[in-house]
Symmetry: C2
Amino acid sequence: MNLKTEDYRVKVGKTVRLKNWSTDENGGLDKAEGKAWAKALADELAHWQERLYAENRRSLLIVLQARDAGGKDGTVKHVIGTFNPNGVRISNFKVPSEEERAHDFLWRIHAQTPKTGMIAVFNRSHYEDVLVTRVHDMIDDNTARQRLEHIRNFETLLGDSGTRVLKFYLHVSKDEQEERLQARLDDPDKLWKFSAADLKERALWDKYTKVYEEALGTSTAAAPWYVIPADRKWFRNVLISQIILDTLRDMDPQFPETDLDPKKIKIK
Amino acid sequence: MNLKTEDYRVKVGKTVRLKNWSTDENGGLDKAEGKAWAKALADELAHWQERLYAENRRSLLIVLQARDAGGKDGTVKHVIGTFNPNGVRISNFKVPSEEERAHDFLWRIHAQTPKTGMIAVFNRSHYEDVLVTRVHDMIDDNTARQRLEHIRNFETLLGDSGTRVLKFYLHVSKDEQEERLQARLDDPDKLWKFSAADLKERALWDKYTKVYEEALGTSTAAAPWYVIPADRKWFRNVLISQIILDTLRDMDPQFPETDLDPKKIKIK
């Protein structure tokens, strides 16, 4: 199988209409084939992650955004969970604390960007500051445009400093979200994940669509957005794994050179 | 198989002589059986980790200490790597930075202790401040004793605040260390892990033994030390997994109660 990952990338300067992007794809595979493929990708990813870590000069930042029950946690568990945890740091950005709100909106984000050699994963991110805040009219359009420009500049700074940025919007249908929220209600072991607040956000579906479309306009060569068809969890996992793998291959990290001559070293 | 994990725990107030502790055990299993068992443990650990995360009231701190090539990174990869990464944070403590040295020795450590619901892993830790520093005579015995007392108090603070602490000393033989260092020299893809400094530390083997034995004296009920026979990597993984599992079961985290009646909620 050969996934054309660029088909899911938002072209620079292009306006996104989410209704034209599929939520439900299988890449011509069935579920068992997809899972086998994800496993093969995981082995290759492990190799490239080790090279990134060993090289210790550049880093990778993975941004996960989605509606509630869109699959952010599942992506962390099943895709990021295959990586060597020594080289990964996950940051969950929730409602800002009082201290965080006393700074500019990128302050707490900047503090969590990856060190050289590392892969950082943002489970929600600075994009919440142009999404949930807009939907609830906490900021006006002018502030939103200003923030989007600050985000662009910030991501350019990261890119110029050796951090590649990959941004994934996990695109689920309204029906699929309903099924997943219902599944949380039906399973006592999942009930803790259910929040009545999710239903309020669901009622604002179209408003979210609109602000997401604007946020996806920040796709750049150094920090592209990908719209991931996410109704099928296994396909989401395969596609994201493939995009990360392609990116690491393109970065082509190298094991560091050494002056040591291993033959001349004697361990006593 | 039934591992008596308490056999590997350092009893409170007991003086450790490492030469009396085995580096090489198999628990009556062969390697294939051990790996199968580790896999079964991983599934159970995932369940208990989810409960800890969902409960969101307490946390777990895992401290990994070992000589060079003792298996800290391998433990992170193979044991911690089976956890849901969303609930795990790894901290690698290297030579302190200038800013870190301008504070007390527990300052940078305290900043990395786990939030509620989380498992934190310290790959090296505050114990380096009574190990490498002592071996190289950077601190005197009086300062070391003072620091050990501060460590005890600090770990008691964590315990009283809902954080369980598990401390693992990965116990390898001098021969096994030689083999592992040699393996790094022999494999071009592993050569980046080799550091000439490791040979200097190896030459101080007996001095390290002595200071480790004193550090292991900080075993308490709330923050026990375990001496893990670590010459066989698969046995190390099984034993550590079993100890973490026993600990989580003993903590017995619960899915949170909710006032919601799932039958009364209708998703529109």
